[in-house]
């Protein structure tokens, strides 16, 4: 694993607006799929834009693959792919798009690209990308992004607009793409879409990173359970009522295995931040 993103004491605010980030620190490594979670307006998209050099920090330093993204150096950009939430419209056909843009990415794999398109059931003979539906277009850009073999892939709300089978295909494709040279950051508020995909969970709340832990560490420290009756054990950290009973998170004192529920974890971290932070510190 190699450090690919290093954010050091970064502060940022938009013009004539209050500070969005203050002294933000974050390190990301290759070989990981990172889930960037947070409520609307917490700065998830802003963070991805800072990483890709579309916005510049007011203070602090950002390094991506040892480059300062601010300079948008071509040797950084060839290894960086950012899929924004709002995708562009283009009159090009899929083949023409590949012909125009693939030469900018020396590690682009045409075979992978058409395999991904096939998997996503996007017709590569479509005369114009603008003729595709929003979801189809999104799938096209995801396929192109993954085929660039970029070291850092930033996906902002990638599952927005995708139908249920496509969301499953997306998870499978991302899982097969990741290797020891690549790092993927997926920003989303639809946490269920990332189930069983994420290696590392980063939660933004109050414009701060309040949680940044690996999935395996989370399941080592926390036990996720669904019960009919409310468990009143002192180790229970978080509990939410459901139609069938209760979903709860408790300290994993017995080193039991459980399936992580990202949505419940997110709610627990946001509402019981200090308790969970202390548990992970210990």
């Amino acid at each position: 694993m190699k450090k690919i993103v290093d954010i050091k004491k970064v502060s940022f605010n938009y013009k004539r607006q209050n500070r969005l980030f203050s002294d933000l620190n974050l390190e990301l490594y290759t070989g990981q799929i990172n889930g960037l979670l947070g409520k609307n307006g917490e700065g998830k998209s802003t963070m991805l834009k800072l990483l890709s050099g579309l916005l510049f920090p007011k203070h602090g330093k950002i390094y991506v693959n040892n480059f300062n993204p601010k300079f948008r150096h071509p040797n950084l950009l060839k290894d960086l792919f950012f899929l924004p939430e709002e995708i562009q419209d283009t009159m090009l056909s899929i083949k023409a798009y590949e012909m125009v843009y693939a030469p900018f990415y020396p590690d682009f794999s045409s075979t992978k690209f058409y395999n991904y398109l096939n998997e996503f059931t996007v017709d590569s003979a479509t005369p114009s990308i603008s003729d595709l539906s929003y979801g189809q277009r999104k799938k096209f850009f995801i396929a192109f992004g993954l085929a660039t073999n970029a070291k850092l892939i930033l996906l902002d709300e990638p599952t927005n607009g995708l139908d249920i089978p496509s969301k499953r295909q997306f998870r499978r494709m991302v899982a097969t793409t990741i290797d020891q040279k690549c790092c993927i950051v997926i920003s989303t508020h639809q946490v269920l879409d990332l189930d069983e995909l994420i290696d590392n969970i980063i939660i933004l709340d109050g414009h701060e990173i309040i949680f940044n832990e690996k999935s395996e560490v989370i399941t080592q420290k926390l036990f996720f359970q669904s019960t009919e009756k409310k468990d009143t054990d002192k180790d229970v950290i978080y509990s939410e009522e459901t139609l069938n009973g209760y979903n709860q998170i408790k300290k994993n004192t017995k080193n039991e295995k459980s399936k992580m529920d990202i949505e419940m974890l997110f709610n627990a971290v946001v509402s019981h931040h200090s308790q969970i932070t202390n548990l992970f510190k210990s």
Partner: protein
């Protein structure tokens, strides 16, 4: 992992141009057909120059507005090419290409008119190739003689200046580009004129200067101004274009989306 050239690489400029033409092919064909048609109807020299400058201005603004806003802006700024390569591709498109295409459209339009008159109406209408010829009258030995000057480079220079100016405006300003660019031009021009006038008056005690708005067009008539200053002023006026390109380059490097 393959490393790519990180300094100016002409192949990437060609790829950027190819990208533009493939993405805008139908729009380009439509636009130049309309311009050619307009030139078949109205082919007065002044009108052609007005079309050249106005369409150039719109073209320059549209090109950059399209590229630097929203999803398109994100996509454009993240294309793995240097800012210099992106700027050169834009300069080629909005200055050289637009200028060449306008001349081509004018020539085709003119030729079409001549051919139509010749074959359909059996009338001889000469082809106008005088787009860059300026005719004035001079008096030689008491006779009025027409003096024809080729003003190609002057027109191209002025067009290049206008395109460079609005390219900078469209990169620098987010909205109301035309208004803000023209306003900035006048504001800066006014300050420069004042500084210039003060300099001429205090340093060289000049009393006669041609009345022009922009300092670039100031015609120095007073013989008391040293020749070197006159030459610097002339060379300086040509330098405006690369200066504007350089500022555009730095504005592009500082562009956030």
């Amino acid at each position: 992992m393959k490393k790519i050239k990180d300094i100016f690489y002409i192949r990437r400029v060609i790829l950027l141009l190819k990208r533009y033409f493939l993405e805008n092919l139908s729009r380009e064909i439509m636009f130049w057909c309309i311009i050619t048609f307009i030139f078949t109807v109205l082919d007065s020299r002044i009108f052609v120059l007005i079309v050249l400058f106005v369409s150039g201005l719109i073209y320059s603004i549209r090109l950059h507005n399209d590229l630097l806003k929203g999803a398109k802006g994100i996509h454009y700024l993240l294309i793995p090419a240097t800012h210099g390569e992106k700027l050169v591709a834009s300069i080629i498109l909005n200055t050289i290409y637009h200028f060449a295409m306008t001349i081509l459209a004018y020539s085709i339009g003119n030729l079409l008119v001549t051919l139509t008159y010749h074959y359909l109406l059996k009338m001889a209408v000469p082809v106008n190739w005088d787009l860059f010829q300026e005719t004035s009258t001079v008096v030689i030995d008491g006779f009025y003689v027409p003096d024809v000057k080729n003003v190609f480079w002057s027109v191209f220079g002025l067009f290049g200046f206008s395109q460079a100016l609005f390219m900078l405006g469209s990169i620098y300003f987010k909205n109301n580009i035309v208004f803000k660019t023209i306003f900035s031009l006048f504001a800066i021009g006014f300050v420069v004129v004042i500084v210039q006038l003060v300099m001429f008056k205090t340093l060289w005690h000049v009393k006669h200067l041609a009345n022009t708005i922009l300092p670039v067009f100031v015609i120095i008539t007073d013989a008391t101004i040293p020749t070197i200053i006159k030459n610097v002023a002339v060379i300086g006026s040509y330098l405006f274009i690369p200066i504007l390109w350089t500022i555009s380059y730095f504005s592009l490097t500082e562009k956030e989306v």
